[in-house]
Amino acid sequence: MPQRSWRPSTAVRRAIAGERIDLVTLLARRVVFVAGKGGTGRSTITAALALLGARAGKRVLAIDVDAKGDLAAALGSPPAGFTPRVVQHDLSVLELRTDESFQEYLNIYFKVPRLTRLTPLARVFDFIATGVPGPRDMLVVGKIAYEERRKEAGSTAPVWDLILVDCAAGGQAESHLAAAKAMLTLVRGGIIRAQVEWIDGLIRDPRRTTVVLCALPEEMPVTEAIELHERLRKGSGVAVDICVLNRAVDEPVSTATRRLVNALIDPENTAEIAKHLGGPPAPLEASIDLQASLYDTTARYMRQLRSKLPMPVVPIPFIVDRTGLTTTRAVADALSGRLA
């Protein structure tokens, strides 16, 4: 194996350091959608932003569109339901289910009582939505927009200061965000035209709504993040504030580290080293090699993202713990460490 330089170039270090983000502005929005390919850590990022929002004194609602309970788990809570569940002071979680969203919608606007004679109606709706998902997407964004508009009883103050949305995987986020715009071309009349118009207005207002993209230092997640950004820009016209690169291996293998490892595995020293350390040093070399290689990969994808995306790209260090509140807190700290 040829000798390679283990000291990362300035360009690599700069790429991996990422940029500072304006977290205050981000958390000052009304609705933040967190989108990305499956497995890119959307739930953890959504949960971390929710913690930061609550820490900043905002009343936060975190919405799980997939409703698999991942978001609640990332906040250390058992699965929530369609009714917001308080997981800590100023922070509630809601799991969005389109059937319940449909019932609520009918109840509010058409005075159709909940849970009465609705099953056949819901089935017909479900059936149509399987073929033409527009209405279902609309129920997702509709519910989110409804929560954004909700006011405290007898007051003009909104119930939530900040709504964070853990989007469904990949392309689905895009169809949710574009649903209102698509509906406008489809629905020329009818009672929902006006409703769709204000939902579309909310999504396209960069002061109120934004998207956070998630990626991993791997080919497909990076490519998909770049493509998703392009499609969001062209499709729904929603603003994208930052891109987060999760599981970034951002600690380089320094020259001193490499020198130490080389000395450890030097055949002349190995026996003595193994005796003193209580085990052979060879496995240590393997982990340092892997570290160096993953660092290079991270840097490569950081560069690619930064050259293709106009917004700041933020690496979040790889966290060994399983997903859960501890990991979420560590991610929140990593994010707030990048405060502008």
Partner: protein, 400 residues
Amino acid sequence: MSVAETGHVPERRRSVRKEPAGLGRRLAPLDVIICCGSGGVGKTTVSAALGMAIAAADDKRVLVLTVDPARRLATALGIKGIGAEPVRIPKARLRRAGITITGDLEAAMLDMKQAWDRMIERYSPDRATAQRILRNPLYQRITDSFVGSHEYAAIEALYELHDAGEYDCIVVDTPPSRNALDFLEAPSRLTDYVGSRLLSLLSGGPSRFGFRAMNFAAAPFLRLADRLLGAEVLAEVSDFVQQLQLLYGGIQARARSVYRLLRSPQTGFVVITTLEQGPFSEAEFFCTKLSEFKMPLRAMVVNRVLPDVFRDTGGVAAATTLVEDPKVAAWLTDHLHTRVSTDTARFVGRTFLNRHTLAQRESRQLSKLSRLGDVPIVRIPLFSEEVTELEGLVRIARAL
């Protein structure tokens, strides 16, 4: 820099040799191999490598049908691009990369729109019906977003290719589904949808008087839908589903033949997963469902497994000393004749222990795998470089 030159993790060949015969040789007699697993587990790469291993094991004409638009796979296969037309992978190029294939290896990418259009043309009772459907503005949206539409297109393309009999073995890389079951359920779901009584209701039934003459029971819903959406939308939907119903007979018959093919002893499913929680539980679920559907699971491929070196107990002891012994840096400085700081010593120890934690978690997952079925389980070690060149793909093919 080629993959072979870079510092890859030393890997113990032992883990690969556990298999009595290579997976390529075991699967070569099959006509159809369906690779399943959740997105991001390296399904496309493993499918391509599997095709390679089969072509190397036997004198077969092998086609890898992929749905993955990643250009890198084409690069990795040593060709410019993959389109709907199969492209042959040059044997000389493969030999240079370190694998000699006795058969033929070709790759093609699924063209979704084409697959759907052809399906409509095939099942329509006449050309006029086909044209009317193809021109309907809703059609495009449905082919794109009908639940399982990618899966259905993949199955259709597979069935046609198998029927044409040009290839001895077709390896299919399934679309990255939200739900791995979508692939298995796509044909019956489409049949149910097109044949459903609800759809007849919406399309105005056989009377064809249009929407208003509909079954009385649907009236409250339609009044509501009218108020919600406006009448025009419903009229468009109605026209579309009326046409679609004319296809029912053809679609139903095809679904039956497709399930026959999927259950055939000449077909095999290969479940691909990593040891991460999400993909792993999906793989477990999928294996259970395969046996419920009576579809033959032939092998499991576990991708990106951390090598055994990270499970080494001696390594753990050495790393722990580096992290915990406050005097270790001074001792190393003395004995190695090079200055070693406490931070550096700790970094080396911590880096190993982190990988060890992950490796241990993986071991626990691996031990669960054998419960899922009495099939060969092949582990592919984590190569620290991504597979971007033919050499990398060949390395995986060899591991198979």
